[in-house]
Symmetry: C2
Subunit: 403 residues, 2 copies
């Protein structure tokens, strides 16, 4: 009883604090995820100490990020990866390649070992689909050409980042042997291929298969079972659990009752993800930012993160014109959760140290904070504002808020 | 990573097994909760050993039952406790008093200590709102007079059972000193009174208060925060966490956006409660039912449970006529989750032993299994079938299934 009481109290404190952080940041017009992370840092061991990092809170954080990536997967259509065409592909690929190269080169300059370099590079790659689409939604620019390219590119970007993460995890887990890495890459690619192609084929043939069981009025519970199963399986074969959850979401999202599924996944994810973001914050060593060397590193990493992502995405979108490419490049800059997930994973498995983790979290926060103030002008200049016509799918708009 | 993989695998196994059990029992026309419990017993330590009882799976089970009671609370209106009138009150009160007295007397005959007697008696009291309303829904008899009395009585019954549970918990936690028990009862009553009266007054004055924060488009996240907070607080002052969760649900259910809340709580509860029922099953010692003494005890406890509940409820409803009273009495017999919760709590805090726990679970399963086959004839005989007219509130019908 004592222990249960204590855990319930900690979960209450973290959820309450995260939602206060969310509220404050929403009112300031800033991304609420940042508020949740800072709230977690405040109530966590570094400051108030009302919340511990223990096996139960770690499980809640893990399930939180598994659900987040499952939700992103559900909202991601395989055919969108194909449909968005050359622009999104170029923006996504260059927007991953340049930050990865930049992060790797920076780590080389700092004399970091290979595994650290790969984790830093991986943490710089992924644009946050959640943050980008949230900002564009506020601007009413989701249905524009630039909005669609950014969404499509962010999806491609996420998948590439996950492949890089699989590579980085294998590198950290195994030895540096190229054979083993090659095997892991093959295993990862085969796993992803079988799940995606096999899963989507089964669902393409019988789109209502997930609601065949009588316990399943919607694909929700079958989806949760598949999510936990593929997360465990991915983790078992050396990938990150979140990769399995993302793939599960992509496959289950092919179901004929996707909207019922999304409506049911949303509250579960809304309940759980604050435990993840709060937990992320609780792991940040705020004191670690107090010395000049670390601050210089934050400045350097952030500059590389912003510069490489902007230039990569800009080049990828250049055929759409300078104004459009500038908007797209800038819109791709926010990192948010994926960078933090990668860095958190690196920290958890001992591949990177607390200082670099703190630096990456600071970078993710900074890249997310600097983007929104400039977007309205860029949207106006690209002439992209206005047309909110269909084509983005209702998933993107269901979260519309009153403000 | 190893540990996370293992926990994800166990959660997957339990959820998958529970839903297969659910499916089999639905197809057999039996209550799916029983299928989930038996599935948990199958994959648990007693049989296959694919699932452990450890701190993480215990937390998931605890959150599962907290969410279940929160959901029951949301679906329970304070004014329904008043509105259903004398019949429901008489059925509820007598339907608790007689089983309590019967359980207490039976324990006395067996020479059990006071705390065991109180826990056994408490475990016999509460009708399962979920199971009863599920069975009536299948019969299309929720909107009838008998249906409303059963629902109202089940609610009163639940509240009384919780007061008894608070008393039993205090008895087990503290000494047998009457002073301390009196203090606990006073603390419990004051806590419940302040939460219910204070909470509902605040919400009565400003029914939209829960959606004032910008992070709250619906009362869902504020509700989850209040649920965790009151569960932790109830646990802190010596009550069961589920009592806090139930009260939180009752209060939050007063919100003007109750239906949005219910729609969002439903998937979270649907995801979590199988971890609770499966966990319950995993704790049953099936081997323990193998000896004749235990089987005799199961028969005795079940006979007392069925007889006292039927007679108590029948007397309470007698003014409505014999046919109606027979239907109501029989409809109140299923125990299900609340009895198991009480017994599980008793086991957890060491108030009762594994044998008695197994006996109570067997009793809950048996009382739940014997009711459905006889209900259709009783409904026909009471002439209660038909009128599905309003008044039961949409919450009761949203779960309607296609079969």
């Amino acid at each position: 009883m004592e222990h249960t009481t204590e855990i319930l109290r900690q979960l209450f404190v973290l959820l309450f604090a995260a939602k206060i952080g969310d509220e404050i940041f929403k009112r300031l017009g800033q991304p609420p995820i940042i508020g949740e992370i800072l709230a977690g840092a405040l109530v966590g061991p570094a400051v108030l100490g009302w919340y511990d990092v223990n096996s139960e809170t770690t499980l809640f954080a893990e399930i939180g990020v598994v659900l987040l990536l499952f939700q992103v997967g559900v909202e991601t259509r395989l055919h969108d990866l194909v449909k968005v065409g050359p622009s999104a592909l170029a923006v996504g690929a260059l927007g991953v390649a340049l930050p990865f190269a930049g992060g790797f080169a920076l780590a080389g300059l700092l004399g970091s070992p290979l595994v650290v370099a790969v984790f830093l590079a991986a943490a710089l790659t992924a644009t946050s689909v959640g943050i980008t689409s949230g900002v564009l939604r506020d601007l009413g620019a989701l249905g524009t050409q630039a909005g669609r390219v950014i969404l499509g590119a962010a999806v491609i970007d996420d998948v590439l980042a996950m492949l890089i993460l699989a590579f980085a995890s294998g590198l950290a887990a195994g030895s540096a042997s190229l054979d083993r890495i090659a095997v892991l890459v093959v295993v990862a690619v085969v796993f992803i291929g079988i799940v995606l192609i096999g899963g989507t084929r089964i669902l393409a043939r019988r789109r209502a298969i997930l609601t065949d069981p009588r316990f399943a009025e919607t694909p929700f519970l079958p989806g949760m079972i598949i999510m936990l199963g593929l997360a465990a399986l991915a983790s078992q074969i050396g990938l990150a659990a979140i990769i399995g959850a993302f793939l599960a979401g992509m496959v289950v999202g092919e179901s004929s009752e996707r909207h019922a599924l999304e409506a049911e996944v949303a509250p579960v994810a809304a309940f759980f993800t604050p435990f993840f973001f709060g937990f992320i914050g609780a792991q940040v060593d705020l004191g670690g930012l107090a010395d000049l060397g670390t601050l210089a590193l934050v400045a350097g990493v952030t500059a590389v993160a912003v510069g490489t992502k902007f230039i990569g995405a800009f080049i990828g979108a250049i055929r759409l014109g300078t104004a459009e490419a500038t908007l797209i490049g800038w819109g791709m800059v926010p990192r948010g959760e994926v960078g933090i997930v990668v860095a958190g994973l690196g920290l958890q498995i001992g591949a990177i140290e607390g200082q670099l983790y703190t630096v990456v979290v600071a970078m993710a926060i900074l890249t997310t904070l600097i983007v929104p103030p400039f977007l309205p002008a860029l949207v106006r200049r690209s002439g992209a504002r206005g047309t909110l016509a269909g084509g983005v799918g209702p998933d993107v708009r269901t979260g519309d808020e009153e403000d």
